[in-house]
């Protein structure tokens, strides 16, 4: 999809300086052709997405879809015994609520904000109607969904085959790509919930990364000191997902 790169097809490209609450900070919205953008724009509602906010519970009907701009949303699967595992992250490159247009209306995963920030939301009925036009918006959303499936599948592979250190690096890199700066506000408890491991395991892995000078962790803040170091330590899963996102989607995740 190169719609975002084409100044003639998208929204007004002169908005080079983006305010914090700018829907165009979301790559899917920014990639909409002009006709779609003009229809959608009046219906997009700016929302604060604070850390921990649940956007939808598993099995609940989706009233809105969300387009994060500065926030990152984690799709978690919660087991019957309460254990959880993160399946995918969604940030400024994506949309939360694909089950809506795929036709399921509900999804077995929970969407929870893992890094506070902002985003925009759109009522479900509006999105369904737009998707139903079978036009460029549908094609964009389907491409995004395919990229998301890749991330989910790669998470399954990673959970099976790679070490916690590798997974933590993958997770930090995926988050970093969706943030403005090198700092993540995140407790180890939350990371443990995301990765579906015990808190002690995450603490040990984080300490190892810190000892090697890759991150600095203090009081719920993780500063990434060496991105290259994290990439070297991560399994291939991060790169596989990133390449597939770059292949399928409008640019958003930077380098």
């Amino acid at each position: 999809m190169s719609a975002a790169a084409n100044p003639l097809s998208g929204p007004d490209p002169s908005q080079a300086h983006r305010a914090v609450a700018d829907p165009l900070a979301n790559a899917l919205l920014a990639a909409l052709p002009r006709a779609e953008w003009l229809r959608w724009q009046p219906h997009l509602e700016a929302v604060d997405l604070p850390l921990g906010r649940v956007l939808h519970e598993s099995g609940a009907r989706l009233s809105h879809v969300y387009f994060p701009t500065t926030a990152i949303v984690s799709l978690l699967y919660v087991m019957e015994d309460g254990a959880s595992a993160e399946i995918a992250v969604v940030g400024k490159e994506g949309i939360v609520g694909v089950a809506l247009f795929m036709g399921g209306d509900t999804t077995p995963s929970r969407a929870v904000v893992q890094s506070g920030g902002q985003g925009f939301r759109l009522r479900s009925a509006m999105l369904k109607e737009e998707f139903g036009r079978s036009g460029p918006a549908m094609r964009l959303l389907l491409l995004y969904t395919q990229a998301l499936i890749t991330q989910m599948a790669q998470t399954a592979v990673c959970n099976r085959h790679h070490t916690l250190d590798q997974q933590l690096c993958r997770w930090l890199l995926l988050s970093l790509d969706r943030l403005e700066g090198p700092e993540l506000v995140m407790t180890q408890e939350l990371i443990a919930n995301m990765l579906g491991v015990r808190r002690e395991g995450v603490t040990e892995a984080a300490l190892r990364l810190q000892a090697d000078g890759l991150i600095r962790y203090s009081r719920g803040r993780i500063n990434v000191l060496s991105r290259a170091g994290l990439e070297a330590r991560s399994c291939e899963c991060y790169a596989v997902v990133k390449q597939e996102y770059e292949r399928l989607l409008p640019p958003s995740l930077g380098d």
Binding site: Y77, M79, F101, S134, R139, L143, T155, A156, N159
Partner: protein, 258 residues
Amino acid sequence: MNAAAPAAVMQPGHAPRPQAHYGSPCDNDLLASLPADELAPLLGALEHTRLRLGDMLYEPGEQMRHAYFPSTAVVSLHYVTANGATVQTTGVGHEGMVGIALFMGGDSTCSSAVVHTGGHGWRLDRQLLLKEFNRGGALQQALLRYTQALITQVVQTAACYRHHSVEQQLSGWLLGTLDRTAPAELVMTQELLGSLLGVRRESITQAAGRLQALGHISYRRGHITVLNPAGLRCVACECYGVVRREMLRLAPRRQEPA
């Protein structure tokens, strides 16, 4: 899955269709759900394909040329890591199709598709699939809902690999495969099972040994016979049931005979 189709033998009310020992395209649930006017243009183009154990339908990054609609075969969507370890993320049988990247728009995926239970299926040229998908009718709806069910399966697999034991996973895997095949006997080596579940052969041997000791399966020279599905359901983690319910919820309805 099987429970969605109360009758094992389909009597769809569609116009003339190929009759052969390998069945008809309507042995696939997605195709069987299409109204006659949507199925008709596909019937001449759907090509019967024998899917043999181990056949690779596509490889990672390969441009897909066909969509496959299994009838009796079961296909595994399979990932291979950089160091050669493998794992299945989803299985596809008569409830689904292989090649969602065609209509999702990516044309290729990072996974490969390998036949793990030999049988029959039907394939459709990508151009024709896209043309029909873009009409926005019943086929589009069925394929998107199926993809949503597939997503559930991938999600569940990721969570399951994190939290559950090989014995639970093997039980769930056997039940899921049984849902897609007619006989209770599966032809399956421990090596293949290990590569599908992404664990060492020894772990499969141990897990299968315990299931055999419980009397739920018998395992002999590459043949697994499920003796007691109810027993397997007790051993399996919740993941099998979650996926099955979601598959049934999202499955299209078969067209009733005229």
